[in-house]
């Protein structure tokens, strides 16, 4: 008789490992699914269809390349193919958006799967009109065409690149768009600040779309992100006993306003997970830290901000924290992290994470024995609420 109950084992990875599976990954967990994909690709290669996954145009080129360089190792072959792809993309990006469609009409299954829905493109058009009502139609067209080619490029590369290579490629896309704006006639009347906003526009729409695809840019397959998320969350639970006095932070828990600010900061930090684009996540971090600054009282220096932020992170235990931070680090326009208020606060968040990860008795200036006692305690005893202590 069919039952409404789903057994735990039905949700687990088909491979029988500890993790949960997912129908999108044919019932495997992300790691096993990736391994399965690699095996599949190897099998395809072995059966002589080395270039079957490439679009036709590139296939010709890479066939030629293979003939010329038959002595190349597999690694070099791959590199060559990638650079050919890059050249091709560079020359074709700004022609027509239909060029990108040509790519997807190839024998590659994945590109067809990842056709960008019209609704997304329409939404982007509307957003552009609202944000940049004075800019010309060509600017609009160029920006949207760039987002399109950006997305297709990342999807194509996600399968053949490590996440670091992919991150580098995305960074180059931002730089390429900036160069295009500096050289193209369409942009000659656009001032520097608006160009920065246009880069943010491109980042927002490309990354928002890619963020929704499983395991492409967020917790990408082939990374440890998911495992680290779990480890971090468990670590924070374990540290629930850490109080403001351990961290050198002067918070007044008797003050209702202080408590209110802490909870505001916590909800912004939790909200980081629901924002899709790196810029959106950064904005949450900025709002969170502004609350934390207010929490510290004026004038809050870094001596106050960092401990209070660590405390906030410990009390919030935000979901998928490592994945979120890695996603922003890899795919946000790198310049936004090196400078600016949001970049500064994000650096503080990274510091808080690093501190929590490496925290020892010494870093809390407490006795090793006492520390070990606390750490051995079941996590639930600690509790995470921050209420007035009954004395």
């Amino acid at each position: 008789m069919p039952s409404l109950r789903i057994d735990q084992s039905d949700l687990k990875c088909k491979n029988g490992c500890e993790y949960f599976g997912n129908p999108q990954w044919q019932g495997y967990c992300s790691k096993c699914h990736r391994e399965q994909m690699i095996r599949q690709r190897r099998a395809e290669k072995a059966s002589g269809s080395t270039t079957a996954t490439l679009p036709k145009k590139e296939q010709k080129k890479s066939d030629r390349a293979n003939k010329l360089n038959s002595s190349f190792s597999k690694f070099e072959e791959k590199r060559l193919r990638q650079s050919e792809t890059l050249k091709l993309k560079l020359s074709s990006v700004f022609k027509k958006s239909s060029t990108a469609d040509d790519h997807s009409q190839s024998t590659e299954k994945r590109s067809q799967e990842f056709k960008i829905p019209n609704a997304v493109m329409e939404g982007m058009k509307r957003d552009f009109r609202t944000r940049f009502p004075t800019l010309t139609h060509q600017v609009d067209h160029d920006a949207r065409a760039f987002v399109h080619s950006f997305i297709m490029d990342v999807i194509k590369c996600a399968n053949i690149m490590t996440v670091d290579e992919l991150s580098e490629r995305v960074q180059r896309q931002y730089q390429r768009f900036m160069k295009h704006m500096d050289s193209s006639q369409h942009f000659q009347d656009v001032d520097a600040d608006t160009k920065e906003m246009l880069i943010d526009f491109v980042e927002k729409h490309a990354m928002t779309y890619l963020h929704e695809l499983p395991s492409v840019v967020f917790s990408p397959s082939g990374t440890e992100d998911e495992r680290l998320d779990r480890a971090m969350s468990e670590r924070i639970q374990q540290l629930a006993w850490v109080g403001e006095r351990h961290l050198d932070c002067k918070l007044d828990r008797a003050d209702p306003e202080c408590r209110l600010l802490l909870y505001k900061a916590i909800s912004e930090l939790l909200g980081m997970d629901s924002a899709a684009s790196p810029g959106g996540k950064l904005a949450r971090v900025r709002r969170c830290c502004r609350h934390v600054v207010a929490l510290c009282g004026a004038p809050a220096s870094a001596d106050d901000l960092l401990p209070a932020l660590i405390f906030t992170v410990l009390k919030a235990n935000p979901p998928r924290l490592v994945s979120n931070v890695n996603y922003v680090t890899r795919f946000s326009n790198a310049q936004r992290l090196m400078t600016g208020e949001a970049g500064y606060y994000f650096t503080n968040l990274c510091c808080a994470l690093s501190f929590i990860e490496n925290l020892t008795a010494e870093s809390l200036s407490m006795d090793k024995k006492e520390f070990d006692c606390y750490m051995a305690m079941p996590a639930s005893i600690g509790g995470s609420a921050w209420v007035r202590r009954v004395t």
């Binding site: 220096s301 400078t339 010494e362």
Partner: protein
């Protein structure tokens, strides 16, 4: 040639627009040496006048004008407590300037300042401009670190050096101006980030390992 930001630097007499350069500056030093007082004095011109509850001293910006250039400082404060010491490299990554602050009435803070300097010279960008500030010079009666000692150390290590007082404002603007003067203003000079966004072209560490 650095980028001109439209509208921000037009001189009233019709002279050509000045260059605008943006620099990231980190503040290092033990807590309680007066790092944030120093920067608040520089940015807000105030000392112990904290009526506004929203003022943060952790991240501030201030613009100074040199002859032909406008220099915009973006000031990143760092936590000075010993327990957070190991996190400092995350802050000074990509910084073009640093001020290491110590308290002239406390010999220990000078020792820690020397450690910061050593670390910056080893790990920060090679072109970073480092300034040493002996703060609280208004408390000369309780002085524990001699001016000559610090000056000799600064000379040895190629640092800018001044004794400052956030309380009396002595040398506060001067030390920032001295840094601004020493920073390379042209794009070819590497570390400089003209108009902010040049960072992405040359400075981003990611772009270094290109596969060409």
């Amino acid at each position: 040639m650095a980028t001109n930001r439209s509208g921000t630097a037009q001189r009233p007499n019709g002279a050509p627009q000045t260059k605008v350069c943006q620099f990231k500056l980190v503040l290092l030093g033990e807590s309680a040496v007066g790092k944030s007082s120093l920067v608040l004095r520089f940015v807000k011109g105030q000392f112990h006048e904290y009526q506004e509850s929203t003022i943060g001293a952790a991240f501030l910006t201030q613009t100074v004008c040199l002859d032909d250039t406008t220099v915009k400082f973006e000031i990143w404060d760092t936590a000075g407590q010993e327990r957070y010491h190991s996190l400092a490299p995350m802050y000074y990554r990509g910084a073009q300037a640093a001020i290491v602050v110590y308290d002239i009435t406390n010999q220990d803070t000078f020792g820690r300042a020397k450690n910061w300097v050593k670390e910056l010279q080893r790990q920060a960008s090679p072109s970073i401009v480092i300034a040493l500030a002996g703060n609280k010079s208004d408390l000369a009666a309780k002085r524990m670190v001699e001016f000559e000692e610090a000056q000799a150390y600064a000379d040895e290590n190629g640092l800018l050096f001044m004794e400052t007082s956030a309380k009396t404002a002595m040398n506060v603007n001067d030390i920032f101006l001295a840094i601004a003067n020493k920073l390379p203003k042209s794009e070819s000079a590497g570390g400089a980030a003209a108009g902010g966004r040049r960072l992405a072209d040359g400075d981003a560490p990611r772009s270094s390992s290109c596969c060409k």
